[in-house]
Each structure stands twice: as structure tokens, then as C-alpha cells.
Symmetry: C2
Subunit: 491 residues, 2 copies
């Protein structure tokens, strides 16, 4: 830790070093935005500077970022937001009346009628009411209480907040949190940061990434040896695996959570992203309430939603909410106190969320355009989900489950032993080596399966299906060509 | 923890209770949005429902929320934001060319030219460049590197992130963080959450809340007995105390931090809010660099800024940034990884920040209006700062330091012993009792000094000077009347 002497006086070196920084943070991994993405950005710069590459552009299929992939915002949402930003536009004739009505209502709920005022820490009250109504409509009339809604800075923020509340104990009493493998790495990163114990349960790749309660039980029993399992996290529709859980499966999970006295966290940010025939989104809350008062009156649950996914894909706004069910009132008071320290979620994101949960109605002038835009996005995603699965399954050495929902495919790749050895030589995990080669040779940025977790000895990558259809075809073709070449090279 | 039996089967009670939630969170206090504010909101509802009160409206002077107090947004900022939200407006003639130019530049830097795309986790690159240029102009040309700029979700987010990195060790090795008393309770709340040790140093009320290095040293030496002091936090201009530090004081503090091997955190979110004659804002970075390479090439520092304060007061957008200086490169890599888990700061807040650091220039069409609006806000604040100090100092039992800067006054109130006894009877700290009575009787919501910390046996409150001048006069008169009545009642 010693540094060069300045003017002959030995320096004590840095105050903050790798040796004395928060050790939990060092354990964090977040592959979705890891070294590969940094290299992709560097290559983009090199291309701009005229450096010759075997490709003309980098296609970043590593992240579910719809607008970056060319998806257009929903017109109505942006009209209302523009009106909220600059209310002078309310006098302009270029905006439809329903957009103006929504903007006036949002502004009226803001301090000083400005979207620049802080809101209540839990979120603007009338927006929480709209969220509650949205949940009630979605869940066939099962009641939702606005007091149980917490608006947030994207779903990530709410998920971290909830996990934070749940973590306590030391050693064998430390809180254990069950997460799926493959998982979305926000979960593993947050557990590392909080020093909680990650309990991995594996999704069944042979059965379309379905969740088997036997596997949950296996994971739980193993974990009981060394921690205190208290939380079960579910992502449905799945990220990175794209499965949509059946109603039966959700019932089984809820029953398991009740038996084992677990707090349920249901990450449902892809609730509109269901493509496969015969698949349907069932909210955990709806199923819970349909299972009767024995469940609905006792089981503690938080469910999460976001403005970043579905048909709107407004990631930049960091809008989201969680609904908490059956939370102990004193704990709820602590939760409210906790979120108040950060003052409030971004108000533009709250306003956007309000539009998502309260979109144009059939009687309103913007309805037709809204429905057209929404339907077009979801139809295109369904088509791309199908195309992706079909194309990958024509490639020897790639096996791909149906993309039933969400925005990603997580195909399995068979790597020749020589490639695995070569990766080891280079000090890399094999699927990272594969993805680096793909990036350098074809300009396509994916995330290696190891960033999400996978069964030992298997290899995958995550790719978003968001590129426009024509570009997606190019991507799939390039991956196909690369995969054949790569396999050839090492066999 | 046991609950009523359901169907004869004894229930195990809640999974998450006060007994097994994260114990650090229970220790958090955040008075700025505490019970008093919740009561104020309740009273507002009661007024709306027609309940008779001795006042017609609740005036919330508890928080620095400019727009909620009627301050109008800066026209140029909102025009550019509306254009970014709904780029179809770029074809409209109602917007000035410089606003369109800014919007085009921001959109060009966004993925898919949409403000709805994720940005880089550290923030949009061209905005970080603009921030760096702003800092260079502010600091008389001292270089700023965009790679050292991290955009954030308000300043709070960046402050928490930096503290998170700095916390490690157990028992007597646990990281100690020096914060002023009175302080802004984000600091104490974050230290409680992270389980870090709070080291309190007292500001000198008799000397206009100035900071004395002797007091820093006293606090540090006392703390060395039970923790590992590593960080010194400064708020300048001060919150809640409104002092503006002299250049000499800043030099002394920097010298102290170097001698004692402390990481400096400079919270400078009120950097435009300086009112008192003879006072000037000096950034810690500028002073650090002017002290020569012995300081500027070794001392580690982070400084923080926000879109929520100054003349713009855009709290709802949650925009902000931090600049890190001399951070160990490996630690910086860890910082970048850490922020990537939360994807990115809200992009509308980033866009707004870009306008704040790169406002209209003299050659541009919006310059005159921008300067007029900016100057009017700051001039009104200066007038209100003066008015507040003068009025309070005419009240027997209230002593008020000059409001040299920021947005608050923190006057000292003398409470009769009988009032103190009465408060104890009611189970309240005396200044909380005072503030509750004021709220119930006059409809004015302040924050008791105990929420910020104060020397034992002294009592204060924090009040923002943000209400419009005429309303502020009413507030001051009401507090005066209340204080005299309250003192009378208990003498």
C-alpha cells in the first residue's frame, strides 16, 4: 500500500484501496453490463475512427433495451410527458384532448403543479390509485390497496429495497434467498452486496425451463444446513430463459412457499410479453387469492412491475412499482421510512407509469393509435420469438427452447473440448471465450450463460430478440455462421 | 410471533417481523419526511374534508422543494425536455432554435435517439463531458476528466454509493465517517443502514455555524478509541445551517484531512445558493488544486451536485452527479461495476443536468430569458434569506444566524423549563413537541432540530426560506405569534 515518497516524505498511499473497500462489493458480478459490453463500446469507437473490422456495426443484443434497438415510443405516452414537461403546450392544438386531460391530472397531483417537485416517497397518491385499479382489472377484480403500492426507480430499486428489509442474522442464521438458475444477475449482485446467502434452484432446461417444486425442495433442504432460508424469488415470464409459468406451477410454488414459511418475491416485469400459443400470464397475486383465504390472508408477498419492458420499453425513465401483500404493519412503517431517505422515485417515471396502467380507453381519441402501436410491437416480438427459436434449432450444436415470453433466448451451445481447453489457456470461462470471439469476428454482443448461472458443464448465451426483424435475421445468420466456423476450428 | 390458528392448525405468524427484519434499518431516522410531515398531510386532508382548523392551509416549510412552493421552472430547461420527450415538436415553430439544438444533441447521444433507452451506467458520455467543462469553468480552468464523472439519481444516490464503497471492518476496525452536527439526515440514515460508525463534529453556532478544525480533531481523536475513521463529509453551503465556508476554512479542512488520511466527501449541491455579502462559493476541488500537487495529486475526494437545488429546484427529476478525484483505479473499476447493477440514472434527469451545466450562451436566443429567470430566483432567495434572519431576531427567545447560503434557516429557540417538562410528560423531545404544537395551531410544518442533531440542551428547528415572499412573511409572523404564546403558556 505504500506509494512513492513526495518531497522525501513517505506517503501513506490511498485511503481507499482494494484491500480496505467494502468486501461485499468486490463479490458483485453483473455480466449484462460487464467487460464484454465495455469491449463492444470500444469497438464501436474504433469503427467510428475508421479502424477496419470484418463488420460495419456492433449489434448489442446483450440487454433488453427496446428503444436502442429502434423500437419507437408509444405516441400517447410521449405526448402526455411533453405536456407535463412544458405545460404551455396545453394551449397548443397539436395534442389530443385525452393526452391533455391526463397531463392536467398528473400535474394537479404534483406539488405546485410541477413535475419538478418532490412527490410523496411512496409515490404520487393518484398514481398509486391508478396502479391499484390496473392490478384489479388484471386480476379479475381481486382488490388492491393503493397503500400497498410503492412506486420505485425501475423494478430493480424495489427489488433491492425488499431484499434489504429481509436480510438479517449472522453465520448459520443469515437470511437465505432462493433464486432461479439461470437468474437475472440483479439478484445475485444484490445478495452479494447485502451479504445474504444465495440459494440456487435450477430451472429444468429439458422441460422448457420449467420450475419443479422437487428442485425447490432439494435446494431448500441443502441450504438449511448453512443458512436461514426466508425468501423465494421467481421471475415470470423468465429472464433470461423466456419461459411462462403455468397456473398449476404457480399454485405449486405458492403451496411450497407457505409450507416452508417463505416470503415470496414475484418479478413480473414481462407480464405483457407472452407469445407462445397456450401460454398465458398468471400473476402470483391472482393465483394466491384464488387459492382461498388460507393463503390470501396470511402469505407475505411482493410483486414487481416496470415501465422498461412489455410493449413500451421505456427503460430510461426508471419507472416501476411494487405491491406488498400481508406485510406486517410495523415492518411496512419501516419500509416507508426507508424509502423516504431517498426522497422520491423520479417523477417523470411515475408519470409514465401512470399512463402505462391507465392507457387510452376505447371512447378516447388516442385509443386507436395506441392500440395499433401496442399490438404492432407485441406482434413483432411474437414473430421474432418464433423466428429465433426456429433458426437456432437448425444449427448443429445449438439447442433452443421456445421463447414463450419475455425478451430473451437462452440457447444451449455445445462446445468442442478443444475450444474448452483453449478458453482455459486464455484464462476465460468457455462461453465467455465464445462470446468474445463472436464479438470480435461478427460484431455481435451477447452475454455468456455463465453471467446468469447454468448447470455445470453446460454452456449458453443470452440474446435479446429485440432487434428489428430484418436485423434479427442478420444476427441469427451471423451467429449460425460463427458457430459452425468455431466448431469447425476446434474439432 | 404466533398468530391465531386457521382451521385448527397453529400458524407460524409472519415471515418478516420487527424481530427478524434487517436491524440496521430500524436504526434509521429521517425527520425531514417523518411523523410530523405525515401529520401535516393528514391535516391537509382534514381541511379538504371541511374539518374546522384555526388556519386555512398547511404550509410545508419542512423541505427544500422549490416548485412545490410555487417557484416556476426555467423555461429553456422545460422546452428542451419537452422536445426530448416528443421529438415531433422539433418541427414546431414555437420552440427557439437553441432549445432544438440542445434537444437534438441529447437525443443523438441516446440509444436509438430515444430518451427511453438505457444510458451507459456512468451516464451519457457527452453529458459527462459537459459536466467536466462546467466544473472547469467554475474552478477557473482546473482540469476535470469526464471519466471521473458519475451521473446519479439525485445527489443522494451518489453519496450513498460512495459511502457504501468506503465501509468495511468490524468492531474497532469498523469505518468511521465524520459528519457535521447539525447534519442533513441522509448521512446518519445511510451510516445506520451500512452499519458504519457516525463521528459527530459540531459546527460553531456562536460563529455563524462555522467549522473549526480543533473540533474536527477533538471528534476524530475521541472516535479513534472505538472505530477506524476514514471519511470526512462536509456540506457547503450548509444544510440545515446555511453557512458558507471561507476559503481559509476549506484549506484548513483539506490540510486536516490529509494529515489524518481521510477521504473527503464534499456535498456542494447548494453551490449557486450564496446570498450574504462577502461570501463566495469555493469548491473543495478548486481549493485542493490551488494548494499544490502535494494535495491535488494524492488526496482522494468525491464532490456532489444535483439538479434539485440552486436556481432550478427540479427535485422531481432526481438528476445529479459526482466527481471523483485520485480514486484508486481498481476501486474505480469496482465503483463502475457497482453502478452498473442498477443499469443507469434516469435519463430525463441526465438531460436536465446537461442543461444546467450547459445553459444558454449570450449569443443564443434563449439567453436573455434564461438569465432573467435565474437572476430573479436567486435575488428573491437572497431577499428572503435576509428577511428571515431579521424577523426571527426580533422575537425574544429566537436567535438566528445569517442565512449566508443554501435554502434553510436553523434558528435556536429558548424553551421554558415547564415546556420541556410538558414535552417529557407527552413522551416527546421538546423541539418535536414545539413543532407539533406549531403545526396543529398554525398549520406550519417545520422539522425539529433534533432531526438534524444539536448540542445537548439546545433546541432548534429547520425552516426552508423557499415560500414566496408574501407567504414567507405570513409564516414568519405566525411562528413569531406562536412562539410568544407558547413561551407565555409555559412561564
Amino acid at each position: 500500500m505504500s506509494q512513492e515518497a513526495v518531497n522525501g516524505v513517505p506517503s501513506r498511499g490511498k485511503v481507499l484501496t482494494m484491500d480496505n473497500m467494502n468486501p461485499n462489493l468486490k463479490r458483485i458480478e453483473y455480466a449484462v453490463r460487464g467487460v464484454l459490453v465495455q469491449r463492444a463500446m470500444q469497438i464501436e469507437k474504433e469503427l467510428n475512427e475508421g479502424v477496419k473490422k470484418p463488420f460495419k456495426e456492433v449489434i448489442k443484443a446483450n440487454i433488453g433495451d427496446a428503444h436502442a434497438m429502434g423500437q419507437k415510443p408509444i405516441t400517447f405516452f410521449r405526448q402526455v410527458l411533453a405536456l407535463c414537461m412544458y405545460p404551455e403546450l396545453l394551449d397548443d392544438n397539436m395534442f389530443p384532448e385525452d393526452a391533455k386531460k391526463r397531463a392536467r391530472r398528473i400535474l394537479k397531483a404534483c406539488g405546485g403543479q410541477s413535475i419538478g417537485a418532490y412527490s410523496a416517497s411512496q409515490g404520487i397518491e393518484c398514481i398509486r390509485q391508478d396502479v391499484a385499479h390496473y392490478i384489479e382489472r388484471r386480476d379479475g377484480g381481486i382488490p388492491s390497496n393503493p397503500d400497498n403500492i410503492y412506486l420505485s426507480t425501475g423494478a430493480s430499486d424495489a427489488i433491492v429495497t425488499m431484499l434489504k428489509l429481509l436480510v438479517c442474522g449472522e453465520g448459520r442464521d443469515r437470511t437465505g434467498v432462493m433464486i432461479s438458475i439461470p437468474q437475472y444477475p440483479l439478484y445475485s449482485a444484490t445478495l452479494a452486496e447485502l451479504g445474504a446467502v444465495q440459494i440456487s434452484y435450477y430451472l429444468d432446461e429439458e422441460n422448457c425451463w420449467s420450475l419443479d417444486v422437487k428442485e425447490l425442495r432439494r435446494a431448500l433442504n441443502a441450504a438449511r444446513q448453512h443458512c436461514n432460508p426466508r425468501v423465494l424469488c421467481i421471475i415470470n415470464p423468465g429472464n433470461p430463459t423466456g419461459q411462462v409459468q403455468s397456473r398449476q406451477c404457480i399454485e405449486d410454488v405458492i403451496r411450497f412457499a407457505k409450507e416452508e414459511h417463505l416470503f415470496l418475491m414475484a418479478d413480473e416485469v414481462y407480464q405483457d410479453n407472452v407469445y407462445a400459443e397456450g401460454c398465458k400470464f398468471h400473476s402470483f397475486k391472482k393465483v394466491l387469492f384464488e387459492m382461498g383465504p388460507e393463503y390470501s390472508s396470511t402469505m407475505e408477498m411482493a410483486s414487481f412491475h416496470s415501465t422498461s419492458k412489455c410493449y413500451m420499453g421505456e427503460c430510461g425513465f426508471r419507472g416501476g412499482y411494487m405491491e406488498v401483500i400481508n406485510l406486517d404493519p410495523e415492518v411496512k412503517f419501516q419500509l416507508t421510512k426507508l424509502v423516504s431517505v431517498r426522497l422520491c422515485p423520479p417523477v417523470p417515471g411515475q408519470a409514465l407509469l401512470d399512463l402505462v396502467v391507465n392507457p387510452p380507453q376505447p371512447s378516447e381519441p388516442s385509443y386507436a393509435t395506441f392500440m395499433k402501436e401496442r399490438t404492432a410491437v407485441l406482434a413483432a416480438l411474437a414473430e421474432k420469438a418464433r423466428l429465433t427459436e426456429e433458426t437456432f434449432n437448425t444449427v448443429p450444436g445449438i439447442t433452443c427452447n421456445p421463447v414463450q415470453g419475455a425478451m430473451y433466448t437462452f440457447p444451449r451451445i455445445t462446445l468442442p473440448q478443444k475450444a474448452i481447453d483453449k478458453a482455459k489457456e486464455e484464462g476465460q470461462v468457455p462461453d465467455m471465450y465464445y462470446c468474445i470471439r463472436l464479438l470480435e469476428e461478427e460484431g455481435i454482443c451477447l452475454v455468456p450463460g455463465s453471467g446468469f448461472g447454468q448447470r455445470k458443464g453446460t454452456f449458453h448465451f443470452r440474446m435479446t430478440i429485440l432487434p428489428p426483424t430484418e436485423k434479427l435475421k442478420v444476427v441469427l445468420q451471423k451467429i449460425r455462421d460463427f458457430h459452425l466456423r468455431f466448431t469447425q476450428e476446434f474439432s
